[in-house]
């Protein structure tokens, strides 16, 4: 029964008042991602560069025999990109890409912990003054004295795929 629930991960956040979320550091900011889509956290191993790929998805890695694309949310969120270090991790997520289930990896500068986030602490994205594209952020919240961002992972990937379709990169 539990498997069924994770497979049909709720797309709306209406019904629930509390989520388990994993918090991570990216571009110097704090991000939170629903653990329902999190499969595992890996230390970066061998990553294969994909030539001519756009900066959002430049690599491939092997996750237990599956070839998984590695993506960098700092690109769509317009965050500064720094080189990987000892704290760098890869979060393996279960997503839907172009209508079919897919596994993708996202980079994190550091992974903190899994914690309960209640709806009461969340706020809509401010209309002005936000550094990141509004459509890519689902909500912002507060944890202690720090703000965190809940990125809209589905929207980010959908936008990327739409773009890739429009301008299919050719050999150049």
């Amino acid at each position: 029964m539990e498997t069924v629930q994770t497979l049909t991960r709720p797309r709306t956040t209406v019904a629930r008042s509390e989520w388990d979320m994993v918090t991570l550091r990216l571009g110097g900011e704090l991000l939170a991602i629903d653990t329902a889509m999190l499969r595992e956290v890996l230390e970066p191993g061998a990553i294969t560069r994909v030539p001519n790929a756009p900066p959002f998805a430049t690599g491939l890695l092997n996750v237990r025999g599956t070839v998984v694309p590695l993506t960098d949310l700092r690109i769509p969120l317009r965050m500064p990109v720094g080189p990987p270090d000892a704290d760098t991790r890869i979060l393996v997520l279960d997503l839907e890409l172009a209508g079919s289930p897919a596994v993708v990896g996202i980079l994190a500068e550091q992974v903190h912990e899994v914690s309960k986030i209640s709806a009461a602490t969340l706020e809509d994205v401010p209309a002005v003054g936000a550094r990141w594209p509004r459509s890519y952020v689902r909500a912002v919240g507060r944890k202690g004295d720090r703000f965190f961002i809940i990125p809209d992972i589905d929207a980010i990937f959908a936008a990327y795929l739409a773009e890739a379709d429009d301008a299919a990169p050719q050999l150049s």
Partner: protein, 623 residues
Amino acid sequence: MTDEADNLFLIEARHLAESLESGLLDLKNHPQDRALIDSVFRDLHTLKGSGAMFGQTELAHFLHDFETAFDAVRDGRLEVTPVLIDLALRACDHAVSLLVDSGAGPGTPLLAELGALVSGKGTALPDWSLTFYLAEDTLVLGGKPEVLLDELRGLGATRIVPLTDSLPPLSELTPDQLFLGWGMTLPGKVGEQAIRDVFMFSEERLRLTLTREIEAEAPDHPGLPVESVTNPARDRAMMRIPAERLDEMMDRVGELVIAEARLAELAAGSGDPQLIAVAEDIQRLATGMRETTMSIRMTPIDSITGRFRRLVHDLNGSLNKPIALEIEGQDTELDKTVIEMLADPLMHLIRNAADHGLEPPEQRRAMGKPDTGTIRLSARYSGAEVVITLGDDGRGLDLDRIRARAEERGLIEAGAEMDEASLRALILRPGFSTAASVTELSGRGVGMDVVKRTIEKLRGSIEVDSEPGHGTRVHMRLPLTLAIIDGLLVEIADERYTIPLAAVEHISELPDDTASDGRTTRFLNIRDQLVPFLVMRDLLDSPGRPGPHQKVVVVTSGELRVGLTVDRIIGSSQTVIKQLSPLHSTLKTFSGATVLGDGSVALILDVPQLVAWGQTLDSREAA
């Protein structure tokens, strides 16, 4: 009834219906073939039987009457004629629609037509002579021979006599054992199956002979061989397996191959001879496993040709052109996924050939060609690929009209200079259709571009070849399998890439003087031919500078070749192909990725794309 059983029945029934259809089409060409008649009859009978078993009464009823009509053919009372075949094909269609929807109607008109055909042609046939002995313990088990006799009487049996030749000596006679047999005569118009059906529940240890009393002087059907064994060995050792299980199995083998590569690498690194020996054993086993699994998935082309023959049969009528379909290399096998995806494009090509390619009979006659146009489908192996060619002996492509149409559609610039091959390739472009009149057949919005796309999705390539007045041929090259290939692993700037080994024609050193001058292509003299080559480091945007001993891997696609410069050849290995995710599937340089022995990922170079790229550079530089 469970859904699973229902599904199994449907699958089985579809299969039978297909076999039936193909049998009928064969019969059309060989109306005297006894084995074919029997096979058609067997399919009908099995389909009826399983229909009844699964509660498909409508279907069973319909098929019963259909079968009765065919029984007449089997007995030689009815000749196989094109009319009969046509009727039978329609009956077959009706049976299929009953499978999908039991409300499709009882098909009475069809049955009436069949019935009329049978009774119209009914000729006096010699009577049957039947003898049978039931199992000796029939009475002990509650069997009632008198019921059988009554049924036989119902069929018109006369001169019923008990046969006592099996009676043991009186001293050994036990009253509850049945030693008696019976002999009788049955009217010749009774179908053989109807007689055999009487014994349906008494087949165990039944000894039965059934012969025509006087061999008729029927020159068309000499001898009318009738088997005297009760149950023909029908069930060969075959198993039907859901396709998903095969896919699953292939995935497992893929994982095994990767794990094996990993083991081999570790063993080689350890230098431990015992470990190396085990790793070699495992490698041999994994290779065997892979080959067996792939061979299970291999399906001969003739599993889909039935549809094509049917299509041509129908086109004959609707286009008013006599068309013959010749099929060559039916036994050629491809991965089942490839075969399934191939059916639609081939249907389309056949329709195109019949509709646009073949001329009307009058025109053909004027050109000195036979009235009947020929469409030829051939399949043959070529290395690790299968080449499928669909050709016709029609009018061929009209290059002027293609050019005009392409200009009109804005596919090329007016007056653009193009060679014949590029002009022919235009018909594969989206938005191209040359048929002056849109006919019911071809004007469906599905064009040659869809065919091309499907072939490319299967990692294949397509080429059009044509001779004015002599026809058009479409050549499709397809990989034998989509799952695992032999790959050549190469290194470019410390990164590893895999090239499908089947596409590799030649490997050589890059002459030092051609090695560096900044441009992406140049030409290489290989066996007195100029082959363009691509500097892969530039193409892949690789870091660093090339070392002194660059290699060139010459790859081919169709008739074309291109050289790829690499730093080092690592070796060949089994390569499990993993599709790229939608995030990367727009990158044309790569056809997929694979996991190497050390667990890292290598991209697989897309040879047809690179070859095509090499050619455009070629013409650009030449221009």
